[in-house]
Symmetry: C2
Subunit: 351 residues, 2 copies
Amino acid sequence: TAPFLASEHQHIRYNPLQDEWVLVSAHRMKRPWQGQVEPSLLETVPRHDPRNPLCPGATRANGEVNPHYDGTFLFDNDFPALQPDAPSPGPSDHPLFQAKAARGVCKVLCFHPWSDVTLPLMSIPEIRTVIDVWASVTEDLGAQYPWVQIFENKGAMMGCSNPHPHCQVWASSFLPDIAQREERSQQAYQSQHGEPLLMEYGRQELLRKERLVLTSEHWLVLVPFWAVWPFQTLLLPRRHVRRLPELTPAERDDLALIMKKLLTKYDNLFETSFPYSMGWHGAPTGSEAGANWDHWQLHAHYYPPLLRSATVRKFMVGYEMLAQAQRDLTPEQAAERLRALPEVHYRLRQK
Amino acid sequence: TAPFLASEHQHIRYNPLQDEWVLVSAHRMKRPWQGQVEPSLLETVPRHDPRNPLCPGATRANGEVNPHYDGTFLFDNDFPALQPDAPSPGPSDHPLFQAKAARGVCKVLCFHPWSDVTLPLMSIPEIRTVIDVWASVTEDLGAQYPWVQIFENKGAMMGCSNPHPHCQVWASSFLPDIAQREERSQQAYQSQHGEPLLMEYGRQELLRKERLVLTSEHWLVLVPFWAVWPFQTLLLPRRHVRRLPELTPAERDDLALIMKKLLTKYDNLFETSFPYSMGWHGAPTGSEAGANWDHWQLHAHYYPPLLRSATVRKFMVGYEMLAQAQRDLTPEQAAERLRALPEVHYRLRQK
Ligand SMILES: O=P(O)(O)O[C@H]1O[C@H](CO)[C@@H](O)[C@H](O)[C@H]1O
Ligand SMILES: O=P(O)(O)O[C@H]1O[C@H](CO)[C@@H](O)[C@H](O)[C@H]1O
């Protein structure tokens, strides 16, 4: 039989962080695509639109008027999925019908006063300001809530309903499902191996090199061995850092730089404003924040849907929803393509 | 404080079958939607197109010519994600870099010779034929493989690249991730409670009634208590049945009928050919088929993405990908809406 080649021979890989398997069938990129193509991006977002509720000076759904902010702007989501005061459903009467109380807060963070920029087109100091707000909102909401989920849905394809550059922050009274999985895995790894899972993982990837996309003094970006989305990446600090507020000023400046480089590469890949969902995971907060969370390592996940071009995405449907995630190119192939891309944004080059 | 109302007060619910939690925030349906709308459906699929590789008499990518079939047609996928003979990646050298061999077979099953019909527009005997092939392909591939995943991606929105009515069958040498979760949960429930999880669950739903959509002599359709997708349903036999081939002729006829009713309701909900991914789960097969799998109950999951209309879907993005699934109406509200819909297809009514 032929020797094993990851790019030719399907196999399954294990995600030790989220305890999941993925089917890697890279030979599948050869099939023609006749399915849905996404609408091309509206390239004509106006810099300022007084009817856009995220713009400076605009009136929001609840009648409030936004300040004429000139940096970032953090405010309460007008349609929050989590509210601070929902009553409890009470005790469950059957093990198959379990419900629990959920309380929390949802905020929106505008990154910039202009609607026609995105993070990779912002300056390093502007990105640094966003990072500082991420840290402070984690600190503020984390005083009360055990989990503060910062996430950005970018692009209409990712369900983002407003082109103005922004992210969301949902803090909850419970540890969400994926946080629970990462907690269990990191806890188990630490007790078996005596060090944090993601510290050892980052070190290994630095040695193996084939999945690295970017490295800097304080950070690494890589396509994880177990990536599900075609160009998924993991952003990790080199130092053992449990939560965003612990980042030093130097680490924050360096983070702004590496984020700008990564997101520029993403935009350059298909010469489009690259859609994705991204989010930060760090040690739980709230009243248990003082417990031992040394098994946690801060990290961000980037999950971009595009597969072949600016308009052809990967669909996580049928087999993926009913059986197991499946990907069509190897993580190593994805990392190689991302590594090879320029760090200057295509829209700035064209000028 | 106000008394708890599931439709007004967010809470979390537990999925005991797949060991996952979902955030239910039904008050969120009140927010306006300004995000992506899906392209309207091309209503003009030709009944026969000789260039469509799924049509009778058409030439496929590998040069093979389809027979002039007049019922169903089962053939090997020309771009299979799983092949029978892939070499093994060999032993893993580190616990964070685990890969394993994956072997299998991918097949495509055309439901009907015409491209312009879908299951709800087919006759009961025609649907019954599809069910018989589902049973026989499970038997055939299950002789060798431990898992035979039958799934249908319907609609361009669900990554379906061909409008011809068809499903897929992927058989694998491994138990996929979601099968493993359902195995663990059903096994644990049986050993704790002495009966299959889904048998007790179906019985409870028959008593509680509020999540039932359809019932027949041999089957139930309900919106599970822990549903994630807006109009997700679970299709269950009343009798304890472990796998599709065990279904009696009467159960198969009745299944054809209840499927037609369910899919007609789905199409009627937004007067569109309702997109979804669906699939069957039953006890593992292969060399261990003879072991005790009594904790398994056969079932089908339907996962439809639409939320508000034929063109506005639920996006499972940001919070859902990074933290936890979230839904915008209660399962009870969804069941009530589906129950109220007529069982005659809107396209037949309009004639
Ligand atoms: O096999 P198809 O229909 O070409 O492809 C579709 O279903 C597959 C199985 O769910 C997915 O992996 C693909 O992303 C999707 O586009
Ligand atoms: O809050 P938004 O941007 O209106 O909505 C978007 O993000 C939410 C959180 O990931 C999702 O629940 C919605 O489905 C999505 O459309």
